[in-house]
Subunit: 295 residues, 4 copies
């Protein structure tokens, strides 16, 4: 979707307003229609609040229709028939378009079991998740009763909407929908930031295969020029950071054993707060290392 | 081979002495024969020195015959035809009887390239090695000239002999052929040794698949009752120690994130001194950990 | 007092038994007299239990007499008049014979306040304490009622007796009255135990001046040959361990800043369990260090 | 001295220019006079370069006169007679106005020994130093020959000038004369920045008594709102950072021993680069801590 300025949304006709925001909530332009009456809107936060209020005030059957307007996760038939552009991009971001057979089966089981119990699709804001966490989330939610799941589905739909708004509406204020994952390598052998260390971030998966997220080289401050993940939620899940410290010390002619006691150091950790700032540093010599959850 | 007491070796006939030690050096009873003349031997160290001296004093062609008496590593045809009991046990200890196809091919390439260049088999004391280190050792040795390789082969043969002596001869003294790998988990959240942590030691492999070496549970002192590797050389190679700290802290009702920031912690390190004592401890809270090469 | 064997105590006359153990409980031979009837005693633990039982079964007025038989702490007049040999040694061990004027006054206030409230002296097993902890202990005990303080005084008297028994009676078993304080220096710059580091242990004091307890040099294993404190209780109190790491790295020609970032590293910690094993290691490079409570 | 804008210095008469900068070099307005000819000056860096060039190009006797125009350090008689305002402020900043008797004697010895050997005063840029480092610097410089000391004195005089310029001249560019000392407390028991920790920075002294530099409380990010030292050189010397971690954990009801194993943690370290950024963090639980030189 093209970006639109908040000031334009305040100035335009109601029809144009609704057209611009029709798909912020999947196939549910009525929400934009109701939010239009709250204009002028002070910012994107106010816009989001107005849309959430429209959902909250809607009668139960309309809320249920909103929920049912959403596609299943990773459903091949629906994908073939065509999802909205947003849904497609969101599902692809978490890798739902590249599932292994085992993963497809797992997601199909989840969708079917959920739909069989509740009569509506299993909805989760996938951009805040990894494949593993989506399946864990499902395990936790399936035992709930319908009322609780309706509330949870609405919450997740609002999270999806917030991320779409953040991408489509340009405003002086910002929704708090981005997190950050960063690292820092301190060479405590020489007492300096470790520059030139190759760092790889990998998303771990219990079901399928792990997948590389990003690669970087530490700069003269021992940090990566860009955060490992930034400008978006940090998906809930398990990760490995891999640091090539053997090559680093070898290049500096630091005496080491053969093979080097430490070569590629893996740090495995989980992300639980997609909108938080998570800092995972490494303090390292050729013979020791330490890490901790920083901020 | 049945064990034999050093005192009996000192007291028995030369023929019995040679029979008992005929295969300490592969298919080369002449070494035991010459060592017999050094009796009485003060201990197993003196016995080993006498045997090494016999090898060192032997003419070049006899040394070469000793080298050629050894089998290729992981050679299917030779295995089918029958190795000595000792050679079989040694090669199996490092997993040469369970190679993947890719590994078989790698070892075949190594044997052939080496034999083509030097005219004798590539010999290494496999009980001090892993599959990976054997191949790395080969890469380093292949460029050598024949004289250097004859010396290296003799050294490796003596290491093989030392380990066979250590197993077969009972004496008051011991050859220094054993190393030790140990760990220790300190829970710095509660300031106590971490008891009940599941620990797994895995041998890593670049070529084939990693293989589990041992599993243990830490005792009330935060240590394993037995060293992870002990009573034998610690094979040169790369390893992963895996500590189930998430389960440990969960059982103690320590507040954690969901999923837990740290769950199964992998420490990857290399062993370079098979006869050394290597201690790899873990200092851990739910939010931080550290390790170092201890002794 | 000369040492005596448990077997001799079992074999000798009751009079000799009482004579040998008359002063295990200060000026109270009646306790030894009653314990004599429990002979034969299986060991020093059984002997101690018999003496404790005699105290526990004694009528209240006799228990009170036992309490009143004890001297004040650090009382100059009583010291001039003469304490028992044991009391003198015990009080001197904690430095009560070398108090500053301010400390004397503090102890005098404590003794007087306590005696004024309870009518008997303030008793504490000083060999398990430092000057600071004695005064802290007093602050906590003064608000108690008389019954609780009688129980506490008896407990402390039994702790004093246990330590006297441990010194005077030779037996196959031992009372659990000794603790241990140890250290270990790991040089994580070179990946080896740090040998030759000068270590100093200092007892800290809020009231008076700190006092050095022991000095040592780390051996090739990075440890001190003897524990910093061993073969006795580790007195409750606050301590500083001081490690001369600047000199250590300078001797090894490790590049450092000028002046060195780290030179003499102080670790300050408290001891709370006199009979426990407390291990306070140091992991150190010229640019970083870490410590933790080990065991 | 009142601050003056660089643009005004470029625009004003030569006389005003010299008047404004007369004392940037102690009692040596001729340097400003010569620098005036270099106008217009692009910034304070260009101004400083012009002044340094004037010094460098001056004949030897004028350079010597510049050196001799400086007062002795901590000289009571000279202080009574009156130093320049700048010299007084600089000497006071390092505590030379509050020396103990022993320190006065040490400085007097230094001044006299230096003047006796070289015939001019011992000059050092005191705002980059502590009392200890001034005396250490002297020990290193006294063995030099006169030529080397003239060069060193000129260098120190230029450092003094740079700091005076930085304070007196307002320009778009800045001289690189400031360093920074900062800290950060990570509570690895709870996995969060440690907020509300009392931190004290103390300058250590071998000769006299240590003196507190600053006190602060960590904020919600575990940092102090202002750097411990900033906006000026970080004086070369030894320091102690003291962290009240016992109180912090007690307030959070974290289980601890009694007395707490860790209470007030001292980190002792040296500063060697006054213009550098030095970060000294603390990672801490009630049972462990670590620090390192960060940046």
């Amino acid at each position: 979707m093209p970006q639109v300025k908040l000031s334009d949304l305040n100035a335009c006709s109601k029809a144009d307003f609704v057209a611009a925001l029709a798909n912020i909530f999947e196939y549910s332009p009525w929400i934009a229609e109701r939010a239009a009456d709250a204009r002028p809107l002070a910012g994107v936060k106010a816009l989001f609040e107005a849309m959430k209020a429209a959902v909250a005030r809607a009668p139960a059957e309309l809320q249920l229709a909103l929920i049912k307007a959403h596609p299943d996760l990773a459903n091949k038939t629906q994908r073939a028939a065509g999802l909205t552009v947003d849904s497609t991009a969101e599902q692809n971001s978490v890798g739902l378009d590249r599932l292994s057979d085992a993963e497809y089966e797992a997601f199909e089981r989840v969708n079917n079991a959920y739909r069989a119990k509740f009569g509506f699709p299993y909805i989760v804001c996938v951009r805040r998740q990894t494949k593993d966490s989506i399946l864990r989330d499902f395990e936790r939610r399936l035992p709930n009763d319908a009322n609780k799941e309706i509330r949870t589905a609405i919450e997740e739909i609002c999270r999806i909407a917030a991320l779409r708004l953040d991408q489509q509406v340009v405003s002086d204020d910002r929704l708090q929908v981005h997190g950050r994952l960063s690292t820092h390598v301190l060479d405590t052998h020489s007492g300096k930031p470790a520059a030139g260390i190759a760092v790889e971030l990998i998303e771990l998966s219990e079901l399928g295969s792990s997948r590389p997220i990003t690669r970087a080289i530490t700069n003269s401050d021992g940090r990566t020029d860009q955060p490992l993940i930034g400008g978006r939620p940090v998906p809930i899940g398990r990760y490995e950071l891999n640091f090539s410290v053997g090559a680093y010390f070898r290049e500096r002619n630091v005496p080491m054993s053969d093979p080097p006691f430490l070569d590629r150091i893996p740090l495995r950790f989980a992300v639980s707060e997609p909108e938080g700032h998570l800092h995972v540093p490494l303090l390292v010599t050729p013979w020791s290392y330490a890490t901790y959850r920083g901020s």
